[in-house]
């Protein structure tokens, strides 16, 4: 004879009372720092292991890097050699009035103490990139390569010059190559953009309106 089993409650149980009424027995004078640390100490769960992150490999080719960067609004141009740099820039930015770059002479002198007023007029910044990441088109730009921390975003147009041998497959290899991130540094992937109005992609939000990577 078939009998219906009594309907069982889903097997999800509260593992403990929901309100862990924890009282901290500290003097009223104790600072917020002590309070927060004490509460974290008292309420934290049993220690779990910190996993080792494997170095997931992948396609580290300049082709992959180019494909991804192009898909996010950037542009890649090959240089035959460093001596071609200025000639290519003149072709790309014939109307650029004020350029800043540590890579060739005759540009606006910029350093960490350059004023906002001066930086605000920069049309073009040409900076050396350190590491390219093929999976997402990002380039590591450390503070030492920026002349001024605000230059990569305040300039109207940004050009990063990168040795194609410095392209790695994923972020794992990129971070593995960074001994430290210095005082400031950024992975820059494409031009500044936004989709905050109806999800329509617009290039040139607050930072650089365009990003060109010159590979050599």
């Amino acid at each position: 004879m078939f009998t219906l089993h009594k309907w069982r409650k889903p097997n999800i149980k509260l593992t403990s009372p929901p309100f862990h009424h924890f009282t901290i027995s500290l003097s009223p004078l104790s600072s917020s720092r002590e309070k927060i640390l004490a509460a974290a100490r008292a309420n934290k769960p049993e220690e779990t292991l910190l996993p080792t992150v494997p170095s997931f490999e992948g396609d580290a080719s300049a082709e992959r890097f180019t494909e991804v960067l192009t898909s996010i609004g950037g542009q890649v141009i090959w240089l035959e050699g460093p001596e071609q740099l200025q000639q290519v820039l003149t072709q790309l930015f014939p109307d650029s009035r004020i350029s800043a770059s540590p890579l060739f002479p005759g540009t606006l002198p910029v350093d960490a103490l350059t004023t906002t007023e001066v930086l605000a007029d920069v049309d073009l910044a040409v900076l050396p990139g350190e590491i390219g990441v093929a999976e997402n088109g990002a380039i590591w730009l450390p503070e030492a390569n920026m002349m001024h921390r605000a230059l990569p975003t305040i300039t109207q147009h940004l050009v990063l010059v990168l040795d194609h041998k410095r392209i790695v497959a994923t972020m794992h290899q990129a971070y593995a190559q960074l001994p430290s991130t210095g005082g400031y540094g950024a992975f820059v992937a494409g031009p500044s953009k936004t989709a905050d109005i109806e999800q329509s992609l617009v290039i040139g939000a607050h930072g650089a309106r365009s990003l060109i990577v010159l590979l050599y």
């Binding site: 509260l14 769960p45 910190l50 906002t116 975003t153 972020m171 991130t181 210095g182 953009k193």
Partner: protein, 455 residues
């Protein structure tokens, strides 16, 4: 007002609801495309989950390590137990510099603490610089999504707002033109700003540095021009090692918008020459959540918004229907921790389909926690009496085979005789407001099964 009432208002405009639903689903499909292109994506989710679990299990240790390193880097570290203290600390820093012109990039924490109204009440102008946030700031609205704060608005709405506040042409609705107008308007604010406030995406304990991810570059432009940088971070933003960023930077943007990475992933470790950097470490209920074993996993959240884009309820009810700093599924498990009474309807704003948990990059069991919150709310008597008693009655009915058998028979044979005005009485049966009753089957499964055994 509860979630259902506010949602009813939102869906009053059917065309807009459909548009909202489809727009967010489009973001979800972009997420899928980006995720499927990474073969190890599921491994990365597991790693991220384990790293966050580990960090929470040694949170006091990592907080102290982070503080020590940050101080060594020349950063001023402040601790705030709650929203009031957070606001007071930031106001104090601003006053010490006699500053009145402030720019702020995205920070859900400052939203949570209601920093802007506090600063404005004290005579300080604070300009939100993320385009979406600036739009809603000009409209005096709250963000409706974690990463797409103005997703509830159409370009016509933005055009009208910019016409009123930024002087764009009446009727101008081209996103390109409107964005350019905002760029010009905000550039002036960036150049003039004395203090820049930012949020924090990740805080690295071993380096004492923070990482901020944006597409617009507004955090970098603001922080790197202003004399003082104030970064507000919740205690849950910590990760142990610099190399852990490789996991999180691969997950965040893909989960959020389907991009391979955000345009700018900026690492702030030391203040620039002659400048100041402050980090405000905020609790505001987070250690309490850490002490709730069933709900502490919500602290792993990296604020990507993937759970919102996929949620059938969020997509059709809009972010404002949640009336919480963080809306959507993740907001529905975070908010009752902060104010159980106010947010008691949120854990019910879900079908428990589990899609949120499936897309979560740090594997938070969101739908399980929604279910558990319902039990907690029922225990605490924070659900409406009608829901409480109908559920109790239903529970008794469904656990009695006899009652179920008789009830089923009555319904199968009697339902067709019930007048429509009774089965569809608006206040009695809300479920039937937009639905028709099914054709009753001839027999129950139980009866059918018995017949099969006889054969």
């Amino acid at each position: 007002m509860n979630h259902a009432t506010r949602a009813a208002k939102f869906i009053g405009d059917a065309d807009r609801t459909t548009w909202h639903d489809e727009t967010l689903w489009f973001v979800r499909t972009k997420r899928d495309k980006a995720v499927y292109a990474v073969p190890e994506f599921q491994d990365l989710r597991e790693l991220a989950s384990q790293i966050k679990n580990h960090t929470l299990s040694k949170l006091d240790f990592y907080l102290e390590q982070f503080e020590e390193q940050a101080k060594r880097n020349g950063v001023h570290v402040h601790w705030a137990a709650d929203a009031d203290e957070h606001n007071a600390i930031i106001l104090d820093i601003i006053r010490q510099h006699n500053a009145t012109r402030i720019v702020k990039s995205k920070s859900m924490l400052t939203e949570e603490c209601h920093l802007n109204p506090h600063l404005i009440a004290n005579g300080i102008e604070v300009v939100d610089t993320d385009l979406g946030e600036r739009i809603i700031q000009l409209r005096d609205e709250a963000p409706s999504h974690l990463v797409l704060p103005a997703i509830h608005l159409k370009k016509e709405d933005v055009g009208e707002t910019f016409f009123q506040h930024l002087g764009t042409a009446k009727g101008e609705v081209d996103p390109q033109v409107l964005t350019e107008a905002a760029r010009q308007h905000l550039r002036a604010r960036f150049l003039a700003a004395e203090v820049a406030i930012s949020g924090v995406n990740f805080a690295v304990a071993e380096t004492g540095g923070i990482v901020i991810c944006t597409n617009e570059g507004n955090a970098d432009l603001g922080v790197n021009l202003a004399h003082v940088h104030i970064a507000a971070m919740g205690i849950e933003k910590l990760i142990p090692r610099l190399s852990d960023l490789s996991v999180f930077t691969r997950l965040l943007a893909r989960s959020a918008t389907g991009q391979p990475v955000t345009t700018y992933t900026s690492h702030y470790t030391k203040p620039a020459a002659d400048k100041e950097m402050h980090i405000v470490i905020v609790d505001n209920g987070r250690t309490k959540q850490l002490g709730r074993p069933d709900f502490r996993a919500s602290l792993k959240c990296i604020r990507c918004g993937a759970c919102m884009n996929t949620c059938p309820v969020y997509r059709r009810s809009g972010g404002h229907s949640y009336d919480a700093t963080v809306p959507g599924p993740i907001g529905s498990i975070l908010s009752p921790n902060i104010d159980m009474k106010k947010h008691s309807s949120l854990p019910f704003a879900s079908t428990l389909c589990g899609s949120c948990s499936d897309v979560c990059p740090v594997k938070i069991d969101i739908h399980t926690q929604l279910y558990k919150w319902r039990q907690v709310l029922a225990e605490a008597n924070e659900i409406p009496a009608s829901k409480k008693w109908s559920m109790k009655l239903m529970g008794r009915f469904l656990t009695s085979p006899r009652a179920l058998g008789i009830g089923g028979k009555l319904a199968r044979h009697g339902i067709k005789f019930l007048p429509y005005s009774l089965t569809h009485a608006r206040h009695f049966n809300v479920w039937a407001v937009a639905r028709e009753l099914p054709e009753p089957p001839k027999q129950s499964f139980h009866e059918w099964y018995k017949q099969q055994q006889v054969k």
